[in-house]
Amino acid sequence: MEYPQVNENPGEMVVSISGLNKWFGDLHVLKNIDLEVAKGERIVIAGPSGSGKSTLIRCINFLEKYQQGEIVVNGITLTDDHKTIEEVRREVGMVFQGFNLFPHLTILENCTLGPIRGFKLNKEKASQTAMHFLEKVNIPEQANKYPGQLSGGQQQRVAIARSLCMNPDVMLFDEPTSALDPEMVKEVLDIMVDLAKEGMTMLCVTHEMGFAKEVADRVIFMDKGQIVEQNKPVEFFTNPQHERTKLFLKQIL
């Protein structure tokens, strides 16, 4: 099944990465990465652990510094100037493996903190927006609870709503279901599928190959800091080109 791609202006790049290189000390973790993400495109990044997939998407909102290369998000070129970084982060939502909700704030406050303190939106407006997105992730009744009172799946859905409240143009998912109990994976994936249907530009680092098959426009396979192979999901899964990809697919499928 393929969802119609919502793209008013085909060819418009939301994220373009060129010549990206990153080292952790002596370890060369990202090697000459070039990646263009069009508006509305859904990309799944797969690969063995330590291949640099998380590091790659964390560079896009500058949670990781990099030594070489250029990243442009919605026309803004990333620099290490903190104003520019904050600007880029407004365009980019992120969902973490460990949810990372603020434990001292209620679900609603988690969602309104960014808009109120970052955008200087008034509390009422921010709460309205937050409730809208909490309804979207099917969790409005928990708005006044604390993260510690919610299950992992519920927390991750709140984390998605929190990101959406910032009205991002692209969403990054860093293994969003890896820390969840198996029976909670689906409730989070369903929300991600909904988002994809609505045309959100998404980059997902995930091991959920079912998700990749269902919604991805492109699957990127990384190994040892390099993009080894990228293709449409059908071709990627049925006709992998690279030996390393074949080995990986054999192990996970």
Binding site: F96, N100, F102, H104, G118
Partner: protein, 226 residues
């Protein structure tokens, strides 16, 4: 024993007020100063962190009584210079010297409490704050500080009670706090039971302080959730 209290109610009241104001004022001033100091101290390896550690080492490593003497008698030696810069009114008074000594002392302990609480906050929350475009300052103000304060509550309550009892040391520099008044009444009456009255004064303050701390801790219901 009761007659000591009823006959000298004005003396005890003054002592009670002085002890409470000394403790509460020094605790609050120290808390305000300790927050930036503790935060700066948590960035280990920086020069400022080392300087703050030096301060903490000296304060924690010397008796409060010595610090009180150094401020009251030591600084007092320079009274002509202090007069010249217009600070003599401050260092002339035992009360102010005691307040300063208690504040400087409590800063050191509270800064360490702040540091511990700040360092216990997982880095992942900083990343979450960054990912919703909050600046470093805002992440500190809306994420680190509230979480840290909630976690610090028990340790701060402890520090307050310790500070309260330590405040009795200022009686040796002629401050009319609870113990100072008790010592005065003892010298008048030579009746040891005045010290029971003094002890009860401290117990009452601790009772109130603990009730306040319980109230404040109860506001952070989220802490018990994990």
């Amino acid at each position: 024993m009761l007659t000591h209290l009823t006959d000298n109610l004005d003396i005890w009241t003054l002592g009670f007020c002085n002890t409470v104001s000394l403790t509460v004022l020094s605790f609050i001033i120290a808390f305000v100063v300790a927050i930036p100091m503790g935060v700066a101290r948590s960035h280990t390896g920086t020069l400022i962190s080392k300087i703050i550690y030096g301060y903490i080492y000296v304060i924690r490593g010397t008796p409060l009584l010595v610090q009180i003497f150094l401020i009251y008698y030591g600084v007092g030696q320079f009274h002509s210079e202090l007069k010249a810069v217009g600070l003599w009114w401050f260092f002339r008074e035992g009360y102010y010297c005691g307040l300063l000594a208690l504040t400087l002392n409590s800063i050191a302990y509270q800064a360490e409490i702040v540091r511990g609480a700040v360092m216990a906050i997982p880095h992942s929350l900083e990343e979450a704050g960054a990912s919703i475009s909050l600046s470093r300052m805002k992440i500190y103000r809306f994420v680190h500080i509230p979480i840290a304060i909630a976690r610090m509550m028990p340790a701060l309550g402890n520090e307050f009670v310790l500070l309260l009892k330590a405040s009795s040391l200022v009686s040796v520099i002629s401050v009319e706090d609870v113990l100072g008044q008790a010592r005065y009444l003892f010298s008048e009456t030579l009746d040891l039971s005045v010290f029971y009255v003094a002890a009860i004064n401290y117990l009452i303050i601790v009772l109130v302080a603990e009730a306040v701390m319980r109230k404040l801790e109860a506001r952070n219901t989220w802490l018990a959730l994990r």
